[in-house]
């Protein structure tokens, strides 16, 4: 691997839908929403992330893997078999679509790590290691997603064609995110489409990260290897690092990535000022600079976030249990013509959508995060 990785610049359209109570939404809905923003894509990448689609295998890590050839598949399966129990390995169902050409081999595996292999590093870190090893050590193999009860479907083409190809109308999930890509280079690589994913984190991103160089080097300090030829992966890894490893609640992670300006911090009351000053000092290299609108999905919800001066569009809406975040109002109204509330999140102000149902397993973490949220943002926050 060369010393330098490629960064891919792209403009895009994004939409994310969630049912707060965890009720299922058909893939058809998100496909029609993203199709309405066809102008924002150029046919060089489209993709979807869906949560809650594999309830029968909710305890297994679902690996969606792309292979360039059978050799890559054999090598990957050999690696997986030495470290994990493979419950199921099967091709991802597709249907022919005349606009989708030359897909890689698309397989999914439901697996659990072998206890003796985990070796005290923690199950999730172990899975991260497996993903990093496949992506960096096996040529022609790429893990598109690796979380539980979720999956990423993506490729080269317009998103509605990709959705049709993957038969997403046959899936139901409680969170859907979708992305139509307008890359400024023409690298036709399936792995390069959004969403990017690690464990149950998925990221759809419209923007360019000017701070990529330092974000990447910062993440290397914590063992992340940026290999995906795109700047978006740093966003996924930063959320993973801040939330999963450093235990920051989502809102605070958002305040690291889109940090408040020093002027703003200066106007806060003393305790809060100290808190955010420390946060900025410690996590300066995790600040993401440059224009972006991003939606990060995870098992318990999703978060929409803009850069700190809002250089890319992002709009949010609510209708009953349904929450929407999108690049354009039109995409939301395509599937929900009269939402109860529509608002423009301000620069750097996260839109946090959290499941109301009680599937949060790590309740202590959750409780602590709730307290933090209350303390720093107040009850009225959201």
């Amino acid at each position: 691997m060369s010393q330098f990785y490629e960064k891919d610049i792209s403009g895009c359209g994004i939409i994310a839908i969630m049912n707060e109570r965890g009720l299922d939404i058909s893939g058809e809905l998100v496909m029609s929403a993203i199709a309405s923003m066809r102008e924002r894509a150029n046919g060089l990448g489209g993709g979807f992330a869906a949560y809650g689609i594999y309830p029968g295998y909710r305890d297994y890590y679902a690996f969606h893997i792309m292979f360039d050839n059978l050799q890559a598949k054999d090598e990957t399966e050999a690696l997986l078999k030495t470290r994990c129990f493979l419950e199921i390995g099967e091709p991802i169902p597709t249907r022919p679509n005349r606009n989708i050409t030359n897909p890689p081999l698309l397989w999914r595996y439901f697996l659990k790590p072998k206890e003796e292999c985990i070796n005290g590093i923690g199950e999730e870190d172990f899975i991260v290691g497996v993903v990093m090893d496949i992506n960096t050590m096996i040529g022609g193999a790429f893990v598109a997603s690796s979380g539980k009860n979720m999956g990423v479907f993506k490729g080269v083409g317009y998103p509605e064609d990709i959705g049709d190809f993957f038969r997403l109308d046959e899936y139901e999930g409680y969170i859907w995110t979708a992305h139509g890509r307008f890359p400024t280079n023409s690298q036709g690589w399936w792995g390069g489409a959004h969403p990017f994913s690690l464990l149950d984190w998925t990221v759809i991103h419209n923007g360019e990260i000017s701070s990529y160089g330092i974000n990447k080097r910062y993440l290397e300090h914590f063992g992340y290897r940026c290999t995906l030829f795109t700047d978006t992966e740093v966003m996924a890894y930063l959320f993973d690092l801040l939330i999963r490893k450093h235990g920051l609640p989502l809102e605070l992670a958002a305040k690291v990535i889109s940090a408040p300006f020093w002027d703003e911090i200066g106007r806060m009351e003393e305790k809060q000022r100290l808190f955010f000053t420390v946060l900025r000092i410690v996590y300066g290299s995790a600040l993401v600079n440059g224009p972006f609108a991003v939606v990060v999905g995870h098992t318990h919800g999703m978060i929409g976030l803009n850069d700190r001066i809002k250089l890319r569009p992002l709009i949010a809406a609510r209708d009953g249990d349904m929450l929407f975040i999108a690049s354009e109002d039109s995409a939301i109204r395509e599937i929900c013509p009269h939402p109860q509330k529509v608002w423009m999140p301000r620069a750097g102000e996260p839109v946090v959508c959290t499941l109301k149902s009680s599937i949060q397993e790590d309740s202590s973490l959750w409780e602590r995060n709730r307290l933090l949220r209350q303390q720093w943002f107040g009850e009225s926050y959201q």
Partner: protein
């Protein structure tokens, strides 16, 4: 005077039609290059005394004086240059070590001049610093690599206590220049400008005059091998401490302030008798390895009750990366690296011009090494040595420095013309001298204003360049080498700098 075998370095041209024999030049030249003849009411020149400081030419009210370098008198020889011959003649005449002042002036490649910056187009809007916030605030000191939280009675609180930090409103500090090497007024101007601009100046190894204690919050107090002026009040009053191990202009050797410069005031500040030579040994006599350095770092931390960051300044030499790593592991909160072109008040020319490595390569090597070892957050890196403009500063930061030290640039802002004769104590600009007749030439108010202007101008330019790159906080550029491209460099140099060649895209 014995006949010397080399011609004067400079020629003084006096336009007789313009000259009104007002004698400004005579009074201004501390080297007696201009001679007034009262009988004749005319002025003549002794060119052998001219050092090319341009004081006379600048102050001549009728613009009658032009100083030129003497055209080549020696036969052209690519190997035996005029400079090589002159140096040999000088040494043959004196038998001494040739001295000089300021930084290396030899034509080694400047890597800053081979690095180009990025700017946004189309896919990434550039940011206008006149309309949008643009942040240069910088914190120097040891930082944890994560923030931890702890539950409390009222909720949750930070469990991470941050070590002491220096807050800079612009990532530029004034580098170490001692009271002794430069004048009282020059020190005063640096202190006041640092305070006004929200940054820091460094005392150098000459202690701190009591009158300057009021600028303590903007002072970095140096502890060097001579330990001049180091006492409890000195350590207490400063915002940060710096152990000086090496200096870019003279790595591996000590310093010497001649007794002639040790006035009453300097004697009190340095705590040495009036008129005695102030000799700084080459090594600290209590530091013979890294474990000794660790003891001194912690002795200073103990002495100041861990209330301020303690840094270590080293010269950029071949092993600068592992040395810096050792310094960080020894407990330093800041590492200052002084490159090949770093200045000095006095150094042997042969050392200044031949020892050390360029700061650009040193920054890159140190930053990469500290990151590889996972200890980059434990200390801030301050780069020093020949920063000529804001582009040099921003390139250094993108290579991995947290901030930069400037000294030559600051002296030039105060009026220095880089004649490189600081060691003579006859600075006609009133900066590197203790002669009261000369020091009063430097108006501290004007010098302060000029220093503030310089910092302001550079900061504005840095904001413009940052905005052009689509970045609105300096920490997003720090160590972000993706915004740099090299021209005219070899593969190996690009690799060490960690940058791509111009023409290579993301």
């Amino acid at each position: 005077m014995a006949l010397t075998l080399y011609p004067p370095e400079f020629q003084i041209e006096r336009d007789k039609e313009r000259c009104i024999a007002c004698q400004v030049c005579v009074r201004q030249c501390a080297n007696d290059g201009h001679i007034y003849d009262p009988d004749d009411d005319s002025i003549s020149s002794d060119e052998s005394r001219c050092i090319g400081c341009h004081r006379c030419a600048t102050l001549c009210p009728t613009g009658a004086i032009t100083i030129r370098e003497t055209p080549m008198h020696f036969r052209t020889n690519a190997n035996w240059s005029a400079r090589a011959l002159k140096d040999i003649y000088k040494q043959a005449e004196t038998g001494g070590v040739l001295l000089t002042g300021m930084g290396c002036d030899r034509p080694y490649p400047s890597y800053f001049d081979r690095i180009l910056l990025n700017a946004s187009q189309v896919t990434n809007p550039s940011i206008d610093p006149l309309r949008e916030p643009m942040e240069l605030r910088t914190y120097l000191g040891n930082k944890p690599d994560r923030v931890a939280f702890a539950p409390t009675a009222e909720g949750v609180d930070l469990a991470t206590a941050l070590g002491p930090q220096l807050v800079l409103e612009t990532p530029i500090l004034f580098s170490a220049m001692s009271y002794g090497s430069i004048s009282y007024n020059a020190c005063w101007a640096l202190a006041r400008a640092a305070k006004a601009a929200g940054t820091f100046y460094n005392t150098g190894e000459g202690g701190l005059h009591r009158n300057f204690y009021e600028y303590g919050k903007n002072t970095i107090a140096q502890v060097a091998s001579g330990r001049f002026g180091v006492h409890a009040d000195y350590l207490d009053v400063a915002a940060a401490l710096e152990i000086k191990i090496g200096q870019g202009a003279k790595p591996g050797i000590g310093g010497h302030l001649p007794g002639e410069k040790v006035s009453e005031q300097i004697s009190q500040t340095r705590m040495i008798p009036v008129g005695t030579d102030a000799l700084s040994p080459a090594p600290h006599h209590d530091i013979y390895s890294i474990e000794d350095l660790r003891q001194l770092i912690f002795a200073l931390k103990e002495a100041t009750r861990y209330s301020k960051p303690v840094g270590v300044k080293i010269a950029a030499v071949h092993n600068v990366a592992p040395i810096a790593s050792g310094v960080v592991r020894a407990g330093a909160d800041m590492v200052a690296i002084d490159g090949l072109r770093g200045g000095t008040g006095a150094a042997p020319t042969i050392i200044r011009d031949n020892v050390g490595i360029p700061i650009e390569l040193a920054i890159a090597a140190v930053d990469s090494r500290l990151r590889e070892e996972g200890i980059r957050h434990r200390a801030s890196v301050i780069a020093a040595g020949g920063f000529r403009n804001s582009a040099d500063v921003i390139k250094a930061i993108a290579l991995g420095a947290d901030a930069v030290y400037i000294a030559t640039g600051a002296l030039v802002a105060m009026g220095c013309h880089l004649c490189q004769k600081c060691y003579t104590g006859k600075c006609n600009w009133g900066i590197a001298t203790q002669d009261p007749y000369l020091t009063k030439r430097l108006n501290p108010n004007i010098a302060t204003r000029r220093l503030i202007n310089l910092l302001r101008g550079w900061s504005l330019e840095i904001k413009e360049m940052l905005g052009g790159m689509g970045i609105n906080a300096i920490e997003s550029l720090r160590g972000n080498r993706e915004h740099l491209r090299g021209v005219g460099m070899m593969e190996r140099e690009l690799k060490i700098l960690g940058i791509k060649s111009a023409g290579e895209a993301w």
